[in-house]
Symmetry: C2
Subunit: 128 residues, 2 copies
């Protein structure tokens, strides 16, 4: 692990995220924030990923939603492998700066299983 | 801390959650899953809370969204203090069973700051 950069990197990874954002993030013990991806026009909740400071920085500046893969330990531009990009429309933090909401335009399926969202299959309680 | 119950309690807390659900949950190190609350008809993402097995069980069986408060270390029925209940309409797990999506009918403001959602104020990137 490298040390955090002076420009606001999360624990272990340097980042170019603006300090005025980085300074108020409330990260988990592993330096991450949950990031909800929502289809900007239909309102569908597509998936939840994780971002460190640099993933948030890249999401804000590249126009493509970028996560930190906890399983692979690397940055992950959604769509780089599948072509199912998430084009960023807007980004907001929640009231205590520990969660990210990214509104996106999802190309194709958000879920690696091929369904539109990651929440389509495992329904525990149906419409009440 | 008490030990987990044989019926599927998360680390440290007993739970009556059905074993067929509990057995496939992929919890964080502290035994929790992020839970996204979404307004069922408008699609607004209202907030993100955290659930352990028992909070999920209560959400599924009481009709009111129930979280585990990480800061207070106790169960938290949304609305018990504020009156801003979240009436549960549907509950789903994501494709790898580590995130919950609860569609609710939100009474009043979801956010403790008084805004409708927790994502209304801190916009990092506006509509592109």
């Amino acid at each position: 692990m490298t040390s955090s950069s002076p420009t606001g990197g999360g624990p272990g990874r340097p980042s170019a995220l603006a300090p005025e954002i980085a300074d108020r993030l409330k990260r988990s013990a592993d330096g991450l924030l949950p990031a909800i991806a929502q289809q900007y026009d239909t309102g569908e909740v597509l998936m939840l990923g994780w971002m460190d400071d640099e993933a948030l920085h890249r999401t804000l500046t590249t126009g493509r939603c970028t996560y930190w893969s906890r399983s692979r330990g690397e940055y992950w531009v959604k769509g780089d492998t599948s072509g199912h990009f998430q084009w960023v429309k807007s980004v907001a933090l929640d009231c205590d700066a520990d969660t990210v909401l990214v509104k996106v335009d999802q190309v194709g399926a958000a879920c690696h299983t091929g369904t539109r969202t990651c929440f389509d299959t495992d329904v525990l309680l149906a419409d009440q």
